[in-house]
Amino acid sequence: MAILYITVMAFVTYLIRVIPLTFFRKKIENPYIQSFLYYVPYTCLTAMTFPAIFYATNSVLSALAGVVAAVVLAFYNKSLVTVAAAACMAVFLVEHFL
């Protein structure tokens, strides 16, 4: 039975991803749609991060430390892995010492 659920999940998720990627093979010329799509990655990633990140760890305080560490390092254009590692480290240190 579980495999039926998993099949439905996988099928729906794949359709969502594949239809826009295969249908729109021509460049979209409309400047408003172009602009809309330009903003999508940033607004989407932000909406996923806030406020969810504050409740991802054992305490809001440690999460806040993670956010600060990530924002500061990202501001100085550090790599994805550096920023992610620093956020984890900040959370760990705050939870360990406070």
């Binding site: 579980a2 659920y5 998993i6 439905v8 999940m9 996988a10 729906v12 998720t13 794949y14 969502i16 991803r17 594949v18 826009p20 990627l21 295969t22 093979r25 979209i28 400047p31 408003y32 749609i33 172009q34 602009s35 799509l37 330009y38 903003y39 999508v40 990655p41 940033y42 607004t43 989407c44 990633l45 932000t46 909406a47 996923m48 991060t49 806030f50 406020p51 969810a52 990140i53 991802a56 760890t57 054992n58 440690s62 999460a63 956010v67 990530a70 990202a74 501001f75 550090k78 790599s79 994805l80 892995v81 920023v83 992610a84 590692a85 620093a86 956020a87 984890c88 959370v91 760990f92």
Partner: protein, 236 residues
Amino acid sequence: MKRQDFQYGLRDGVPIALGYFSVSFSFGIMALKGGLSVLQAAITSLTNMTSAGQFAGLQIIIAGGTLLEMAATQLIINLRYALMSLSLSQKLSGNVTLWQRFIIAFANTDEIFAVAMSHNRELTFSYMVGLQILPIIGWTSGTACGAVAGSMLPAAINSALSVALYGMFLAVVIPAAKKTRPVLLMVLLAAAISCILYYVPLFQGISAGMSIIICTVAASVVGAIVFPVKEEGGAK
């Protein structure tokens, strides 16, 4: 296949794969508790490549929900991928063929999309395949390891690892927001709407997946109207 593009892709996929391993580890633990076998848990991750979608799907399996409910939930939570795929379709190199798009679509996850969009060379099929392989392996093997090892990791480590993916999101958003003011403003708008939907009691019924869609669409529409980007900005 262009060998160098493929290698660039692999390299950029390493941090994603590491982050995925740790997050899917916790999915594996939960899946086993929910009654899935190790193999079923691993297959779920291999075939879905989503975080929120899988976590929600697992809840439905545990609760014994209907298949229709499963399909509807996945549609809502994962609808943001349609927006991402649409964005990605605009940035992909013109040489990418239809069947290559069918392959690329499979693992167009939040993080892979984010890295692909911030890639400042031509987005080729070779690069995309290289970028996706390690995260797929990381996500699947992390799930299997979590299911097998159970909750052996100390809570402090789990807690710290849980911000890894958010850290990666910020690493994509912040530099862009620093560079262009409209991005900064729209990102703040998205965060504000997201917080309103989360904290205002009136909106409690809105699922996390739906909230992401609302924030993304609202902030991006405002951005497109107030600060339309000039030619080629659409694919940056």
